[in-house]
Symmetry: C2
Subunit: 343 residues, 2 copies
Amino acid sequence: MKENTLLLKTINKIAVERPPVWLMRQAGRILPEYKAIRSRLNDFKTLVKSPELAAEVTLQPVNILHVDAAILFSDILVIPEAMGLNYEMIESRGPFFPKTIQTKQDIENLLTGDVAADQLDYVYETINEINKYIPGDIPLIGFAGAPWTILAYMIEGKGSKTFSIAKKFLYTEPELAHSLLEKITHSTIQYLKNQVNAGVQTLQLFDSWAGLLSMDQFKTFSLPYMKRIKQEIPDTPLTIFAKGAMLQLEDIATTNPEVIGIDWNISPLEVRNKLGNNYTLQGNMDPCLLYANPAHVFDETTDMCQSFGKNHIANLGHGVYPDTPLEGVKAFISAVKSFRYDN
Amino acid sequence: MKENTLLLKTINKIAVERPPVWLMRQAGRILPEYKAIRSRLNDFKTLVKSPELAAEVTLQPVNILHVDAAILFSDILVIPEAMGLNYEMIESRGPFFPKTIQTKQDIENLLTGDVAADQLDYVYETINEINKYIPGDIPLIGFAGAPWTILAYMIEGKGSKTFSIAKKFLYTEPELAHSLLEKITHSTIQYLKNQVNAGVQTLQLFDSWAGLLSMDQFKTFSLPYMKRIKQEIPDTPLTIFAKGAMLQLEDIATTNPEVIGIDWNISPLEVRNKLGNNYTLQGNMDPCLLYANPAHVFDETTDMCQSFGKNHIANLGHGVYPDTPLEGVKAFISAVKSFRYDN
């Protein structure tokens, strides 16, 4: 049944009237209804681990903003935690790992595969909970961090502009890096399979720190592991979004994802020229545009839809920023919903 | 006389045996001799404003690391300060502006042009001081921040991953943004002319936050002002380094800089294919590579020189990181100095 939704049709390159629209980070940031739930809890992780509340937060943008897809409310860092590396989410600072991966022994101590993925029952319960209430015409997107991005946090231990500690690890300890990436990949594959079994219809990999890698590093330490994930889960459509790696789109295409996410550093036309017209592309509005007045947001969004043409999932080029005015978000969604393809 | 140095010859596309080498941020970060001077002073800004010490720090990499060029030890944020917007440099956190630009009146209150540039006598004195001691075969590079990057700090007030406050200003107050960019550009032109008059042989513009802009924003709010700077200072060779904007290289080339800086997100081959072989390019080693063992650094640096071919200034693709081991820096420099072009 979900095959007939606007998102799945677009992914499957079936003709539709307009692009589907959703926003990365639509759940868990911008809605007052989210903030009300969040304020009742001590921390972000409690919310992630509470299936009923996480399901409610997942569905808020569907019910309130009328986006065309729901994305599971969760966090990419549940995978390191499931593998045995605990983290804290520090208010307004971001994630922090009290212990980081430094040695071969640290890597050997990590759980992997289904043993790790089985730690994440609360995610699968959240998916079950969502599916009790989600409208029939709205698909549910599951996700995980791409292996390089997960490794980056496990080595660096926190957010960073450069992730220089993690990149140093790639340069100085390439064998250990590969063995850690193997374990992350193995866990992620099982985790995503479990999400599919629990009831998501499509998957997205977020390679948030792809843009920090040199081209060789991206080819060596990121790409092969994303390719493996796609190979192991061939039947569920996959979106790969490698933020900041817009010069590597041809490489990303070799992983055979159904959808490629693009950020606002590149024009849809340039991507179509590089990859051909048959790819479904997702993106790519600058999240900062949503601060502008709603009429301007509407016009720019219409232009964006026009630039992509068909086979497009309207979205931002990054997660929506926490202080984005709702009027901007609504104008973005409204513009996409008003748009029609020429024929 | 400085025309015969390896750097100036390379900029002027005169045949040389090997690329010249210097490192962005070579002064003021990595050398123990720098740290010894810095530790005697209360703060970074005192050092910037002390011509004798700033000159000493400028020359340290020449005398100790034997790079082929010196770059003035200073800070891009001296321009906002000269325009009337004071800042603090907070240890291990970065710059902080107690007051930021928010209104038309704030912009009108700013000094501009020679009135602003005249506040920076300590910079010109530093250049005089450097020229007393700099070896005859070593040119001196002057620099400034590109106008968009300077505006970003003046609006945002501090470093940021997204500079969303500054970008919001571009989207919501484009006219104010242009009037502020005019004032910054006017001041920067006079500042760079004064640097040339004081005795630098070549100039670099750092557009450190270019990569955060959408393509349209880059074309509208960054590019025209860099173009103006080049037009107003036609006789001094200019390097433009727009970090993260490697998809905009063709646009950058329209500003007619003598040298284009590139980061490690793009291969020299791809840049040569886009821009032709006659451009002098500067870059582009990942600064994180210098953490690797020296033999590996040496080999990768040799490969980099080979990939660029002629008309190349060997450098990193960003400023050297503060905790970079000196052995890595030395291996990088040594590899370039050992390299020879095939004919």
